[in-house]
């Protein structure tokens, strides 16, 4: 008799495990999978409620995200601080907790005890070694949850954690891509006497924080920004978005590129002290015959004159944004003769695994010539990227001053002249 019972329970247990690890589940999208998993968990543990709370890392609170038989928890947006109450304790101590008595002394969330739940068991949801949430089930009748129940619940929690991680990664990726699309100009501005082309390729693995911006000022000047925020994913993209906005605002307020970057550095120092970025900020005169440029840790543009080999413009170096707001910043004036082509880029273009930066820069210079900007972009991307998926983001912006333009003086050979403003 006992043997028969054991056999039944073993079979039931196997069915339960199959129900949780069922391959059919993976055909559902992650959100549906989480809901279905809660339903099945509630059934196999013969419980009345099941709920998943996910950890919000910024607030340190668990947020009710999905539930079966306890939907009001989700609808009311229940939040439990880590370390407090039943779920908070599970998250803080990374271990299962069984409750035989549910009341205000053991459970923080009044929905649970007012609903008449008598016994509960919960386990941590762990992904990549850290707790990302809590999964718990409850019973309206008093019962003793067993170690087998805990084990089954943990199995479900592991499956749920994987689904949540994939859901978060997908949501982040979607948000980052949407952000990046909104941050890179949808069309380049039309400027008399200038021809422009650009390329933007997000990194193949994690999306980084590269961006570029090009816009005209009320004065008729043309403003160019290239930037690379350290870090990746949503966090970097959000900082990149903020930098882009404030740079546009400062560009309207001050004519001095060094002052624009000083203001950016002060703003970052105060509001985002953890951020670090390289930024290039340049203003081209309305006649396009010179550019005032300030670098904050960014690579200098490559400049090509008609019929001559291209080379990096000689521009005063400056410290990255996010290190020291008191850093003095220097503006360099670069003359732009008719037909000259300027190539702005982020480091992803010239960095290759196992290769020195200078080799990459040299390859870029060899690929650039003072041709039509679309052709120049195609040549640069063809030579430097080819068919390899880029590890890092790549941003490339090419501007050519139309050749043979009337009404402008041709500067002497002092192309790389410096002005110490």
């Amino acid at each position: 008799m006992t043997t028969r019972l054991d056999q039944v329970s073993v079979e039931a247990r196997l069915r339960a495990i199959q129900s949780i690890t069922d391959a059919a589940l993976s055909r559902l999208d992650d959100r549906e999978l989480l809901a279905e998993l809660l339903d099945r968990t509630r059934d196999i543990l013969r419980a009345d409620t099941a709920a998943a709370l996910l950890l919000d890392f910024s607030s340190g609170q668990l947020i009710a995200t999905a539930a079966a038989g306890l939907e009001e928890e989700v609808r009311q947006g229940v939040r439990i601080p880590v370390g407090r109450g039943f779920a908070g304790r599970i998250a803080a101590e990374h271990r299962p907790v069984i409750l035989d008595r549910v009341d205000h002394t053991t459970v923080l969330n009044p929905i649970l005890w007012s609903k008449g739940i008598k016994s509960m068991v919960g386990v941590p949801m762990v992904a990549s070694g850290r707790v990302i949430g809590v999964l718990h089930v409850g019973s309206l009748l008093p019962r003793q949850f067993t170690s087998q129940d805990v084990e089954l619940l943990q199995l479900a929690a592991d499956r749920a954690a994987a689904a949540v991680q994939s859901m978060t990664a997908q949501a982040d990726r979607t948000a980052v891509e949407a952000l990046q699309r909104s941050l890179v100009p949808s069309a380049l501005p039309a400027v008399d006497g200038a021809e422009m082309a650009a390329r933007y390729v997000p990194g193949s693995g994690v999306v980084g924080g590269d961006w570029y911006d090009v816009f005209t000022l009320p004065s008729g000047e043309l403003c160019v920004v290239m930037g690379d925020v350290a870090g990746s994913g949503l966090a970097a993209a959000v900082i990149m978005g903020r930098m882009r906005s404030v740079l546009r605002a400062y560009a309207l307020e001050t004519q001095d590129p060094a002052e624009v970057l000083r203001r950016l550095d002060r703003k970052i120092h105060h509001f985002e002290p953890e951020a670090l970025a390289t930024v290039l900020y340049a203003v081209l005169d309305p006649a396009l015959d010179r550019m005032r440029i300030c670098l904050a840790g960014h690579f200098p543009p490559v400049i090509a004159l008609p019929g001559k080999p291209a080379g990096p413009a000689e521009v005063a170096r400056g410290l990255m944004i996010g290190v020291d707001p008191a850093e003095p910043r220097q503006v360099t004036t670069v003359p732009i003769p008719p037909g000259a082509l300027l190539c702005f880029y982020t480091d992803g273009l010239i960095e290759r695994s196992g290769e020195l930066i200078d080799d990459g820069l040299e390859r870029l210079c060899r690929a650039v010539s003072a041709e039509f900007p679309e052709a120049a972009c195609a040549s640069v991307m063809g030579t430097l990227v080819g068919n390899e998926p880029a590890r890092d983001d790549i941003a490339l912006l090419v501007i050519r001053r139309r050749p043979g333009q009337a009404g402008s003086r041709v500067h002497s050979s002092s192309l790389l002249a410096r002005d110490g403003r």
């Binding site: 693995g205 994690v206 870090g231 953890e274 410290l319 996010g322 480091d347 695994s353 930066i357 890092d392």
Partner: protein, 117 residues
């Protein structure tokens, strides 16, 4: 040959992080952990040995700058060992060569730290 990891050793009482050939977004988190481990040790000043390192992207620089700022807040600093041109070039372009003190070998770096013995 290629080592993705960072090692932390205590040399004459000073934590020394030895970096691999490349530091980028794929291993910058390991660097961060090694730096936190070193900072927790003793005086707050420690050394990052970039002798083998030929490449460091913004993710790596981010970790180093963060560690340096935290060390400075506690009266310490992060000293770098950079004998080659490769990584020095990256520090020159980003302006960080003027933020960190760097040395061409580990002995010179350790000699800067009072109490190292």
């Amino acid at each position: 040959m290629y080592d993705a990891g960072f090692t932390v050793e205590v040399v004459t009482g000073v934590p020394v992080v030895t970096a691999p050939e490349e530091i980028d977004i794929t291993n910058a988190d390991h660097l961060r952990v090694a730096l936190l481990e070193s900072a927790a040790h003793g005086t707050g000043t420690f050394v990052v040995d970039l002798t083998r390192t030929r490449f460091c992207d913004t993710a790596g620089l981010h970790a180093l700058v963060g560690a340096h700022k935290r060390a400075q807040a506690e009266g310490g600093e992060v000293l770098l060992v950079m004998p080659g041109d490769a990584v020095l070039r990256i520090f020159a372009i980003t302006g960080l060569d003027r933020v960190f003190r760097s040395f061409t070998n580990l002995e010179d770096a350790l000699a800067q730290i009072p109490g190292a013995a």
